[in-house]
Amino acid sequence: MNKQRKTNLIFWLFLAPVLFTFIMVIVIPFFMGIFYSFTNWSSSARADSTLQFVGLANFKNSFQDPSFIYSFIITSLYTVLNVLFINAVALILALVVTSRLKLKNIYRVGFFIPNLIGGLVLGYIWQFIFNNAIPALGNIIPVLDFLSNPDNLVLSKVGSSVTALVIVGTWQYAGYIMMIYVAAIEGVPESLFEAATIDGANEFQKFKNITVPMVAQAFTITMFLTLVQSFKQFDVNVSLTAGGPSAIFRGTPLFGTELLSLNIYNTAFVKNMLAEGQARAVVFFVVLVVISVIQVSINKKKEVEL
């Protein structure tokens, strides 16, 4: 009994710092946020700034705003592309660095390093590459002349800007996802491959019938991580494209690569409508939860237990 109590005490003692932080910076702000989304809160010292309940007005206004709808569409598009690209690249890299390759540890570190650079810095570096380095390349190499034509600037069109976001997103995140795949691939028992080799299976058959089902657990994790990461993309969006270039949606000119997080930020801090921004964040949260629950349950079904 005494020992039981002591174990309990130690349990809570170790948990306390994390629990305290979690409650202070996640749980309380989360519920405050939901509360504010039903009010006219503005965090300013306006003459008429008393806190009032406005019901569902913030949610209604959000769905009537073309920029919010547009952000949803462009974010979904970006997420699909980004998830596909990151996972494809990460899996290929993982297969490469788990094969019999010289210096494979150095490659692993090299591919992982972009993940350690902050998204803002990364965005500015790539903005320089797209705006200055690539056109300069066009000036030097005559064959690539078209690159220096201002009409072909990557960040001057919506379509290519989304592609640019995907490229940078992949460059940043593929190394991290690669590490998860590497761990999973190395966990596959060698005996399975040996048996397959004896049976005369070729490399592709081995990959399809052994590697893929055996790393299905990793797929659940990587799909979840990349999905959430892509949906929440903010820092690279701000620094690389700043929401531009503009587009016209339903007759309204708006920012063409304004992903949801940036849309929420702009609503709150540029439009000065903090409560409405908060309402959008709540919608964003609900959508993200639904999508990831669906994704995880689908992926779970495909996992195999050995």
């Binding site: 920029s67 500015y124 201002p150 531009g244 016209i248 000119p253 708006l254 702009n266 540029v270």
Partner: protein
């Protein structure tokens, strides 16, 4: 361009000398990254003289991170600075509840451009600023263009055409350095937009602004303005126009790759840093077919004191010292290169464009800054994408006019 310098300068202790209050710490938040270093140096001198500490925070330089956003976050966190910046009536309304009445301050008598509301003085003008079309005088004389003739659309059109045909001879890439990219909405939807609002009107005339705010559009004025925007975009370097940032835009002018620059006198320090030695000055905007002989000059931003501050006296002293001490004046004019808004300050800034603004102002040929009568939201999220569409070539002039008209009609 990472222009967000959020650094602080804390000098604990310090020698105590003369001064009305001692040992207080005030926080000042301002939006001019280009004077951040000079202001921090001055804060250090002020600390040595008065024993008070001033912590300087600078936010700004791009439209993605602005002072207003930082203030909102700080206000929500209960960490509002003691002195901060407002840029006119819309900002004033945002912070009305905590802005201190400064009518009885000593500096009020020395300036004519303080921020006032209902007869009370609230804002300390930071500087007088102005913009027009900055031109490279050496280049214009080489091309045989008289800058004095540049005061209407037709004069600009023929000048741009002539310069464009002499590109190789002059060694320029484009005629005018203009930016309309996603981060540069403040050049188009704030500054250029003001040509529509105040060009050719008596100083302080709000007739066009009030009409537009009511959703009434003067189509003749808008059409002429659209011609002007089209002209600027047509003769700009397309790479800088669509994706360039502030550095790229100012750099093209400073390195003599463009004959004109669509910016204000705040570029003086950048141009100096680029070691540009050619002669330059401002010409009026050509947004109308009739001649408009003047540039846009105003005190656009004001220091205000937070009435909930614990160190109001020290904050007031900081502002007074800037105007009435030698060190303060030296900071404003020589170190920060600003045009002083105070009659007792006899120093003159060294920058050529600042001098040009002073000259236009001395002749009384000035038009007001009216863009701050529109909300930041309207300028940054509604107008900026329209300019960007036009710059990218996604829409033509007729569509530009139509979208602008629709945007104004949405205001009522």
């Amino acid at each position: 361009m990472v222009m967000t310098a959020l650094t602080s300068l804390v000098f604990a202790g310090g020698n105590n000398e003369a001064g009305t209050s001692k040992g207080a710490t005030i926080t000042l938040m301002q939006n001019k990254p280009e004077i951040d270093g000079a202001l921090k140096d001055y804060a250090k001198i002020w600390n040595e003289k008065t024993g008070n500490t001033a912590v300087v925070k600078s936010v700004g330089g791009s439209s993605s991170i602005t002072l207003g956003q930082q203030l909102k976050a700080d206000y929500a966190a209960g960490d509002m600075p003691d002195i901060f910046i407002i840029a006119g009536i819309e900002d004033y309304k945002e912070w009305e509840g905590i802005i201190l009445d400064l009518s009885n301050e000593k500096w009020v008598k020395e300036t004519s451009v303080a921020f006032t509301k209902d007869g009370k003085v609230y804002g300390f003008p930071v500087a007088v600023e102005g913009w027009g079309m900055a031109y490279n005088a050496d280049m214009l004389s080489k091309a045989g263009i008289d800058p004095a003739s540049l005061d209407n659309y037709e004069a600009y059109r023929s000048a741009f055409e002539k310069l464009d045909s002499m590109k190789d001879k002059l060694g320029i890439d484009s005629v005018v350095s203009m930016a309309a990219g996603p981060e540069m909405g403040w050049v188009t939807a704030h500054h250029n937009f003001n040509s529509l609002l105040s060009n050719g009107l008596p100083y302080g005339d709000m007739s066009v602004v009030n009409q537009l705010l009511k959703g009434q559009v003067d189509m003749k004025r808008l059409n002429e303005y659209a011609d002007w925007v089209e002209l600027l975009f047509k003769y700009a370097d397309k790479a800088i126009l669509t994706t360039g940032n502030y550095d790229a835009q100012v750099g093209a002018f400073a390195t003599q790759k463009a004959a004109f620059l669509h910016q204000g006198n705040w570029v003086d320090p950048n141009i100096k840093a680029a070691n540009a030695t050619f002669k330059m000055a401002f010409a009026p905007h050509g947004s109308m077919h009739t001649a408009t002989d003047g540039i846009f000059v105003a005190a656009p931003s004001f220091y205000v004191i937070n009435s909930e501050s614990k160190n109001i006296e020290a904050a007031k002293q900081f502002l007074n010292d800037m105007v009435f001490t030698q060190e303060g004046q030296d900071f404003m004019v020589n170190k920060a290169g600003m045009i002083p808004a105070y009659s007792n300050v006899k120093l003159n800034p060294a920058g050529q464009l600042s001098k040009s603004v002073q000259q236009w102002a001395a002749e009384g040929k000035v038009y007001s800054w009216n863009q701050y009568n529109f909300t930041g939201d309207f300028r940054d999220l509604t107008l900026a994408p329209i300019y960007n569409q036009f710059a990218n070539g996604s829409i033509d002039k007729a569509k530009f006019i139509e979208l602008m008209k629709k945007a104004f009609e949405g205001l009522k």
